[in-house]
Structure formats: structure tokens, C-alpha cells
């Protein structure tokens, strides 16, 4: 992870920041339309969303884009590298030119723009899939543990503790390096999700615990509603903002994790491009061809920044929006 999971979790709901809790306790969910308007006028949220959208489009339309730019992600271009100087790209800034918009890779002359576009696929696919998976599992587990308590809670909490006690990064590297190389994307999603869901579940659980005691839930119970109904009709809606914020804030973590794993060599197998793996390949060249690491590094940085900003803005809007209504 780009930063430790304990900090990430504590950061998401800081120990002292109970504002989210309090607003949930004091009022029913705020008007959706009002929140949307607040969202659209927040330029931090808008900029981030724009960049994220750009990357998603880039990922989806990668083949089209590379047709336009003229070079695929696997094609070698011997003319763009200098064989007498260790096969370094010709020209300043790592060989940026009209032919190669982002320059080329040393040693092979592969087009960096094409590899960035295709690399976006891996990053987005893994991060979004992992987020989806962890959110689903985390919410389900958290709800079950928080609502039913007792044995269910005991078991689920122990499992969560157990998973959180693992040094996740080391374990992920070890598992991934031991497994064969096919279906990497799938494996990455599974492995990342395996260690990621407890953090979400823990938050959902504690919120469920406090929601459980509130009047409207008691009222629902008194009127004979089934547990299922209560969970889905009363509790879950109140968790909406939390879940959205947590999910949005989880994405950058997973992007960073996938990139980190690729950087260490256990991500997707080359020649499939991945931003993390491009940076790893760029490391020896950092002194003479800095663009080679700057470009994927910048893309990574901006993507993580955008998701984090988005999550932050959503949370601010949700809490202030609800407080107002």
C-alpha cells in the first residue's frame, strides 16, 4: 500500500472526527438533488472527476488511440533508439516527437503513449474490480457482524483481525510470485481484495452498531419488520455516504497497491504494459532518461490524487449537505 492500512483506516474516520457519525444520528438522509448540486459546483470534485473520466476513456479506447498515434504497445522501433549508446532514446525528453508523443522506451523503442494507454486498462480494471469486490464483501460482513452481534460478530471480527494482522504487501508478493503467470489481473484483484475488505467491514460494522440503537430502528422492530427488511430498508440507506466515501477512498489505495506489486515484479507479466512495471523498468535509466519514469509516475500520481480528492470532496459535501438539511 502506498501508506499503512491502519493510517488509511484511521484517516477515513479519524479518531476524533465524529462529524459523520453525529450527522447521521441527528437527521435522516439529505436530499439527493441538493447534494448533486453541491457536487457539481465544487471545482475540486469536478477536476478530479474529469481526470478520472479521461483515464477511463483512455483505457476503454486504447486500441483506437494507438491507431491514431500510429504505434502499438508492443511494436519495436529501432530507428528511435541509439544502438551505440546503450539503445537510449534519440532526442531530448526521452525521444518525444511527432511520431512518438510521449517518447520511447530504451532497449526496444516501444511507444510510451501506447503503453500508457494500455497500462491504464490494467490499473483501472484492477483497482475498480478490487474496490467493487471489497465494498460488497466489506459491507455484507460489516452489516452481518454489526447487526446480529453475538457469535456471528465474534467469528467475523476474528477473521478480520486475522487478515489485518498479516503483513499484506509481503504476503501478496509471496503468493503472487508462487503462482503461475496466467490470469494475472484476476489474481491481483483476488489477492488485493482478500486483504482489503476487513478495513471497510470494520467501519461498516461500527456504524451499524450505533445505528442499531436508534429510534427508527427500534420502531421498525416494534412494528414487526424482519431483520432483512430492517437491514436493507433502515440501516443500509444510512450507510450510503459512508460507503461511497470509503469506496472512493479505497480506489487510490488499490491503484497504488497494484502499481507497487507491478513495480516489484509480481504484477501483470511483460510485455503487457502496466504503469508500475514501466516505472520499475525506468529505474536504472533515471539519470539519463528521466522522462521514462516521470511520465508513468505523473499519470499514477494524478490518478491517485484525483480519487483521493474526489473522496474528500464527497465526504465534505455529504457531511455539510446533511447538516444543512
Amino acid at each position: 500500500m502506498t501508506f499503512s492500512s491502519t493510517s488509511l483506516e484511521a484517516e477515513a474516520t479519524p479518531a476524533g472526527d465524529s462529524s459523520l457519525h453525529e450527522t447521521l444520528e441527528s437527521s435522516p438522509p439529505a436530499s439527493g438533488r441538493r447534494l448533486l448540486r453541491a457536487f457539481l459546483t465544487d471545482w475540486g470534485a469536478m477536476l478530479s472527476s474529469a481526470y478520472i473520466l479521461l483515464i477511463i476513456l483512455m483505457a476503454i479506447f486504447a486500441p483506437l488511440l494507438t491507431m491514431l498515434s500510429g504505434w502499438g504497445p508492443y511494436e519495436f522501433d529501432q530507428a528511435a533508439i541509439d544502438p551505440n549508446l546503450g539503445a537510449i532514446p534519440i532526442g531530448p525528453f526521452g525521444g518525444i516527437s511527432a511520431e512518438h508523443w510521449f517518447g520511447v522506451e530504451p532497449g526496444s523503442g516501444r511507444d510510451i503513449f501506447a503503453r500508457i494507454a494500455y497500462g491504464a486498462r490494467v490499473s483501472m480494471t484492477v483497482a475498480l474490480s478490487a474496490t467493487l469486490l471489497t465494498t460488497v464483501i466489506g459491507v455484507v460482513m460489516g452489516l452481518l457482524a454489526g447487526y446480529f452481534g453475538g457469535l456471528v460478530d465474534l467469528v467475523i471480527s476474528r477473521v478480520m483481525e486475522f487478515l489485518m494482522a498479516f503483513p499484506a504487501l509481503i504476503f501478496m508478493i509471496a503468493i503472487l510470485s508462487a503462482l503461475p503467470a496466467d490470469n494475472r489481473v484476476f489474481l491481483l484483484v483476488v489477492v488485493i481484495s482478500l486483504f482489503g475488505w476487513p478495513y471497510l467491514a470494520r467501519i461498516v460494522r461500527s456504524q451499524t452498531l450505533s445505528l442499531k440503537e436508534r429510534e427508527f430502528v427500534e420502531a421498525a422492530k416494534a412494528s414487526g419488520a424482519s431483520s432483512r427488511r430492517i437491514i436493507f430498508r433502515e440501516i443500509l440507506p444510512n450507510l450510503q455516504s459512508t460507503i461511497i466515501v470509503m469506496a472512493t477512498l479505497a480506489v487510490p489505495g488499490y491503484i497504488g497497491t497494484e502499481a507497487g506489486l507491478s513495480f516489484l515484479g509480481v504484477g501483470v507479466v511483460p510485455p503487457t504494459p502496466s504503469w508500475g512495471q514501466m516505472i520499475a523498468a525506468a529505474t536504472p535509466w533515471y539519470a539519463v532518461d528521466p522522462m521514462y519514469f516521470v511520465i508513468p509516475g505523473a499519470f499514477l500520481f494524478l490518478l491517485v490524487l484525483s480519487f483521493t480528492t474526489l473522496g474528500d470532496r464527497i465526504r465534505t459535501i455529504a457531511t455539510s449537505g446533511e447538516a444543512r438539511s
Partner: protein, 332 residues
Amino acid sequence: MIRIVGSRLLGMLVVLFLVTLFTYAIFFLLSADPAVQICGKNCTPERIEQIRLNLGLDQPFWTQFWGYVGGLFTGRTFTVAGAAVECAAPCLGYSFQTSQLVGDMIVQRLPITATIAVGAAVLWLLGGVVAGVLSAVKEGRFLDRFFAGLTLGSMSIPNYVLALALQFIFVVALGWLPFPQAVKFTDDPGQWFLNFILPWVVLAVGYAAVYTRLTRANVIDTLQENFVRTARAKGLQPGLVWRRHALRPALTPIVTIFGMDVAGLLGGAVITETVFGLNGVGKLTADSITANDQPVIMAVTLLSAFFVIIGNMVVDLLYTAIDPRVRTGASA
């Protein structure tokens, strides 16, 4: 209180045992022929046989596992090249690839990991708390926004990208710093400092950002608490209000999280050490995974988990001791 400590201890041991079991099982299941992998290059059928014998690889899973666990408590003897190699408790295994006791390998590398971890920890704690407090006090003003932006950026940049960027700027372009190497403090303190600055900064930046935000939020909340308002209303000097009433409750959660983070780092900062080529425990982990040196991978994974679990337990206990509300058992 004793009961709580006791149950926590028990819980910790259970988790530790399960982690060991799980780790061992994963490696057992995932390796096609562990003997061949453990042997590495320059292998002969005789060595493979030797490894099989030493580690009992032909035996059922549970026998092997208990052998490993037993070694952790009582030590083990390996037969290498016809001679006995004593592995004192806790026996973390023998690396056939490098002909060394895993314990020795780790001990050799601990100083570097400790240097990086402690140096970075000091940096991020000081930096994070100071920035957080300043942001809280100047809430909403320029300084606060500035730090907010800075922390956002710091949290978002992957540390290996930051490492390369800083290296390029300070080592290659400006030439202010030397290329980071593991210089001993006793050899040359000045050079030691200059060499470790980059790894410290790279590792600390992410944490500092998070700590800044945490501190800021905590301080803001604490300042709004009733007991602080009361203290102010009573006419206490601001400085006193700060030190006696506000700072402690604001910072206590920080310190406990700090404990957990540092504990996690004792297992080695894998990426930071790898990027700078510093031979700490983290790099040992990365290298042994590349080389598929199973005994080492097993050992560092366990060690790391051990630190994290201990750290968690210590923090839990501290919380219990400090915060009376928690003692009633409402916590997870």
C-alpha cells in the same frame, strides 16, 4: 484489568499461531517441488535429497509444520554437507541457497532497517504533528489550505516515484546529496546523515501527510470539547490550556497509531529499501521472493506478522489503559 490483558494475550497467540499455519500452508501448497526451489542454482540430486531429509519434505503436512514450529521454540539441527549446523531457538530456518542461517541473515540486516524506520518515524511524527497542530490552530486560513494541498499530494505520490524524482533532482542534477548507500554511523556521521536523508524523506512523506490530517482533525475536535471550553472560561492562560488539557487527548490516539505503524515497519520497508538498494530486511524479503528462497520468505513473513500483531496488542492495551470508555468492552 488482568482479565482483559489475559484475554488479549491469548487472542494474540491464537492469531500468531494461525498466521504461522496459514503462511506455512500457502507455501506448502503453492510450491511444485520445494526441495528443488530451495536448492537453487548449482544443484545436484544429492543436495536435493539432503534438503528433503533435513526439512522432512516427504512427510505429511502436519509433521513438517510441527517440526517448523518446534524449531521456533527449541531450535533445530540441520545436516549440511555431512556436518551438523546448529540453529538455536528461535530457529528461523536455514537458507540452502546462500548457506546461511536465516536468523543470521536477518540480524545482519536489522540495523539498516532500524535506521531507516526510526529516522523516518522521527521525521514523520514531528513533521506530521507540527503541521497538524499549525493547521488546526490556523483553521481555514492560508497555512491550513497550504498544508491540506501538500498532504494530499504527498499521500498520492507512490513512494518509488518520489524516490526516483528526488534522486534525480538532488543526486544527479544538483549534486547536493550522494547516491544513498549504507554508510555506518560510526564510520562517518556526516556522510551517514547525507546518505540516509533521501530514504528517510521518501518513507516519511506518506505517513507525515496522514498524520498531519489526523492531528489536525483531533486537535480541532479537542479544542471544541467542553472541558477545553471550561478551562478557557475559567480564565486559564492559553498556553496552559494547551499543554494540560488540549494536547494530550488530541495526541494520544496519534501516538498509539504511531506505535502500530512503526511496528509494521520493523518488518522492513520493502519498496523503499528496494528502490535505494539498501540491504535491510525489506530488501531481503524482495530478493528472497525473486530468488524463491523459501525458508527466508517464510521467516520474514512470520517476523513481520509477529511485529504487527505485537504492535496491535500493545496499542490495544494502551488504549484500554488510557481510555476508560474502552474498558467496558465496547471495542471490537
